[in-house]
């Protein structure tokens, strides 16, 4: 019944950092393994007149930025002696990518922030958190 594998979807916002800290604290108590997942939106600028190499370049830069963000989390995890691994997924549908990842990797618990990068409202739940909560097959912990 305990939490062996914990998934933390990370997007660099303060809420997701809070969620990661909670995950570290939980995994210290339960000896669990943390998986951090970042989902990159596939950007397609469209238009036949745009060089396709530009799209590839954008994705490359996005990957570099997320890897730099992961370094920060790695330091936190090393300080607390918690095992972590990182994964970057490219997809069009963030919610689907997170839920299918959780399903395939036998995740016992998803910990995520209540709202992400969107600035629209902090009162209600963010769209990604809401979607994951509705569709995931495992328990979901939402940090506010």
């Amino acid at each position: 019944m305990t939490f062996k594998n914990i998934l933390v979807p990370y997007d660099g916002s303060t809420y997701s950092l809070l969620a990661f800290n909670k995950a570290v604290a939980l995994s210290k108590q339960h000896n669990s393994h943390i998986r951090v997942l970042s989902c990159l939106d596939i950007r397609n600028l469209g238009g036949w007149y745009i060089d396709k190499r530009i799209n590839k370049d954008i994705m490359k830069k996005a990957k570099k930025i997320t890897e730099e963000l992961f370094l920060k989390l790695d330091n936190i995890a090393k300080k607390n002696a918690v095992s972590v691994d990182f994964k970057i997924i490219e997809s069009n549908n963030t919610v689907k990518a997170i839920t299918s990842f959780a399903k395939s990797k036998n995740i016992d618990l998803v910990i995520m922030g209540s709202s992400g990068r969107g600035k629209f409202d902090k009162i209600l739940l963010g769209s990604v958190s809401n979607g994951v909560m509705q569709k995931a097959k495992c328990p979901v912990l939402i940090i506010k």
């Binding site: 939980l26 739940l125 979901v140």
Partner: protein
């Protein structure tokens, strides 16, 4: 980390599982569990949920206590401090959230589906409402 845990309980399988998970966390974290049940009262098509009939509410309360008695035993075996609260109100979501605010809970643990509704694919209405509106962290068990 989580000092006060609120478990909203309605006697279903999902909420039983939620209570188990809450025990798991509380055992390691040395936190306090509060079991919370809301009794709606009797429903009639004309007046809606009425508060008038005290007898039925008393009956429902004693039935709820019977369920919760078992849970108290499990918690005492694991040395987890536990308290039980039963309240009467018309809106379950509002009652749970006001309870969490006044009691300074850090975490609400609840099942994904309750007693009403037919769709098991998406989230139940109470779980959804609490997750949206609460000021503290929410854990939804499936």
């Amino acid at each position: 980390m989580f000092k006060n845990i609120l478990v909203s309980y309605d006697g279903t399988n999902f909420s039983n599982r939620a209570f188990r998970k809450a025990l798991d966390i509380a055992e390691k974290d040395e936190s306090k569990i509060t079991i919370f049940t809301v009794i709606e009262g009797e429903y009639s098509a004309i007046t809606g949920f009425s508060k008038i009939n005290i007898q039925t509410i008393r009956k429902q309360q004693s039935a709820a206590k019977k369920y919760i008695y078992k849970l108290e035993k499990d918690a005492k075996n694991l040395n987890v401090p536990i308290s039980v609260k039963i309240k009467q109100g018309t809106s379950i979501i509002k009652e749970i959230i006001s309870m969490a605010n006044s009691d300074k809970t850090d975490l609400i643990v609840m099942g994904s589906h309750g007693r009403t509704g037919l769709n098991k694919l998406i989230l139940g209405s109470v779980a959804n409402g609490v997750a949206q509106q609460s000021k503290c962290s929410v854990m939804v068990i499936k």
